[in-house]
């Protein structure tokens, strides 16, 4: 049973192939080349190296966001296209829930922070893979206020927001913990693994009903709302 994982929600991203939840291969790049140029070539190389035909895939899992709007759409469009053409199920996963899954063996709270720029983040708290609150778009100050109500346990910050705002977070959250930078990012392997699990639970979608998770209206819509 083959599961493919795709993540293009931040500058870093890539693809992973699992067979029965064993990692066959994973390709992650953190380079300036756009996802549009590198995603399919990476995927082609991965399947070639693994000697697996795309027709053999049982499920494709794709990160639907939150993250870079353009990046997300490239990954989601690619996942949709693969599944539409192959007649295979598609699983949409938020970057936040995959982080929760990837770091579920941490005993305290895990808080993935996806950088939304200018000290704003998309975030959600998890304990052993279970979400503690709803996914949220807000300021770093909101996250810090939330953390101060959990002063008696360790809080692991992961994701590009955790990397970019680590100095500020270390100061404000005394019980904060940070993994090494290279281990703080989303793994396509974790996307594929959680995709496999959703598939086995029958929780799948298709090219029509899996869509991006922006968690934020566009500037134009927000301005329009203000005016009316």
């Amino acid at each position: 049973m083959y599961a493919l994982g795709i993540d293009t929600s931040t500058l870093t991203g890539g693809v992973a192939l699992l067979k029965n939840r064993q990692l066959i291969g994973e390709s992650v790049l953190n380079i300036r080349t756009t996802h549009s140029e590198r995603l399919l070539p990476s995927l082609e190389q991965l399947l070639l190296d693994a000697n697996v035909d795309s027709k053999e895939l049982d499920v494709v899992a794709v990160v639907t966001g939150p993250g870079s709007f353009t990046g997300i759409r490239i990954g989601v469009a690619t996942g949709k296209g693969m599944c539409y053409a192959l007649g295979k199920p598609l699983v949409g996963l938020t970057s936040l829930e995959v982080f929760g899954w990837q770091f579920k063996y941490f005993s305290g709270l895990v808080i993935p922070l996806v950088d939304a720029r200018r000290k704003n983040v998309y975030w959600q708290a998890f304990r052993q893979g279970q979400s503690v609150n709803l996914p949220t778009h807000g300021s770093l100050g909101d996250v810090i206020a939330f953390c101060n109500t959990y002063a008696d346990e360790q809080i692991l910050f992961v994701g590009d927001g955790a990397i970019n705002y680590s100095d500020h977070l270390r100061e404000e959250v005394v019980n904060s913990v940070f993994p090494p930078v290279a281990l703080s990012l989303l793994k396509p392997g974790a996307v594929a693994d959680l995709g496999h699990i959703r598939f086995s639970q029958g929780l799948t979608g298709d090219a029509f009903n899996i869509n991006p998770t922006y968690m934020r209206k566009t500037e134009a819509e927000l301005k329009w709302q203000e005016r009316t």
């Binding site: 756009t34 549009s36 140029e37 590198r38 995603l39 399919l40 070539p41 995927l43 082609e44 795309s54 709007f69 353009t70 759409r73 490239i74 989601v76 469009a77 690619t78 996942g79 949709k80 296209g81 693969m82 539409y84 053409a85 192959l86 090219a207 029509f208 869509n211 991006p212 922006y214 566009t218 500037e219 134009a220 819509e221 329009w224």
Partner: protein, 339 residues
């Protein structure tokens, strides 16, 4: 699979479109989902909103195009997608969708220049297009004179060095207080005017030069209006509009006819928004008739953005040996002739 069937995909602005075209000419299905109502309240296309609608609509639209054509993805011989020019976020949705379909089905994919697509709108609906031909694309963004020596190939023989012809129309119309787009407004005004009333300069008139320049003409027209205003003189608007429009039509047509003669073609093709100007069309028709040539312009319903024209252009490029690879990217300011 030698079915001659092309799946065309177009998402360069605010239309999500997919079409199935056979042999580059026969439109089997043509689905266009317009977002125009969504963007209206913002006074123009909002790129991020357009992209968000494209990603939700693209597979339903592709599915509908296949359904209506009563073919499956397996029957398709080649996939064609517009990769520029346009809104980069919008283009990326179509490009990513097309590439993943091509990869999963192991079909060839061809990236198409959206403007080239507009030229191939002439191939739809049973028009018989027989290269070599020259094509003049005139719109708000383009004034390109192309030689199509054979199907799937093109060579730029002339382009504007400054403003596009449609841009000159729009700018002068704005100064006259006419609504956008200015071309149709000026055409209407010009109907009652005398095209010989005012002589406006034509740029780059030397023989054998196929490039265009409209900034001198535009400046002269604006100066004319300014001077009249300063001297408190009335401008005969119909005469002004007719003379200004004539200067553009005259230079466009002259170069088009000179190119047709130089390259020994039998057909002359017009495309782009300005091709809808009937004064222009009629004059070109008259010149073409005098020379025993044939004039083609796209059927009205294929003048606006659609995927059938992308499929047609892609099919002929594919037959001419062109292929794109999986690193195909969207290019917002793609020009004709760019790789």
């Amino acid at each position: 699979m030698k079915s001659g069937l092309t799946l065309g995909i177009e998402t360069s602005c605010d239309e999500t479109a997919a079409a199935i075209v056979k042999d580059g000419t026969e439109v089997i299905s043509n689905v266009v989902l317009s977002q125009i109502d969504i963007h209206q309240k913002y006074g123009g296309v909002v790129p991020e909103i357009a992209s968000r609608h494209h990603i939700e609509a693209i597979f339903p639209v592709i599915n509908e195009a296949l359904d209506k054509a009563n073919v499956s993805l397996e029957d398709i011989e080649v996939i064609a997608v517009a990769y520029g020019p346009g809104l980069v976020g919008s283009l990326l949705v179509g490009v990513a969708a097309a590439k993943s379909l091509a990869f999963a089905t192991q079909k060839p994919i061809v990236g198409v220049n959206h403007i080239e697509g507009h030229i191939y709108a002439n191939f739809l609906d049973g028009q018989s297009v027989t290269p070599p031909l020259v094509c003049l694309t005139v719109s708000g963004g383009h004034t390109d004179l192309l030689l199509i020596p054979r199907l799937g190939e093109y060579e730029i023989i002339g382009r504007t060095r400054d403003d596009a012809a449609g841009e000159a129309f729009d700018k002068v119309a704005r100064v006259l207080g006419l609504p956008y787009p200015g071309g149709p407004q000026i055409e209407k005004l010009a109907l009652e005017g005398n095209k010989g009333a005012i002589h406006f300069p034509r740029g780059l008139q030397e023989h054998g030069n196929f490039d265009f320049s409209f900034s001198g003409l535009k400046t002269a027209a604006l100066n004319y209006l300014n001077q009249a205003k300063q001297k408190d003189e009335m401008v005969d608007l119909p005469d002004f509009a007719a003379s200004f429009q004539w200067a553009i039509i005259d230079i466009l047509t002259e170069k088009l006819m000179a190119a047709a003669e130089k390259y020994g073609v039998n057909q002359v093709v017009l495309s782009g928004g300005v091709a809808a100007n009937s004064t222009f069309r009629n004059y070109v028709q008259k010149c073409v008739d005098e020379r025993g040539l044939e004039l083609l312009y796209p059927p009205v319903h294929f003048c606006t953005d659609n995927a059938a024209m992308i499929a047609s252009a892609g099919y002929f490029r594919y037959n001419a040996g062109y292929r794109s690879d999986y690193s195909l990217n969207a290019v917002a300011n793609l020009r004709l002739g760019d790789k």
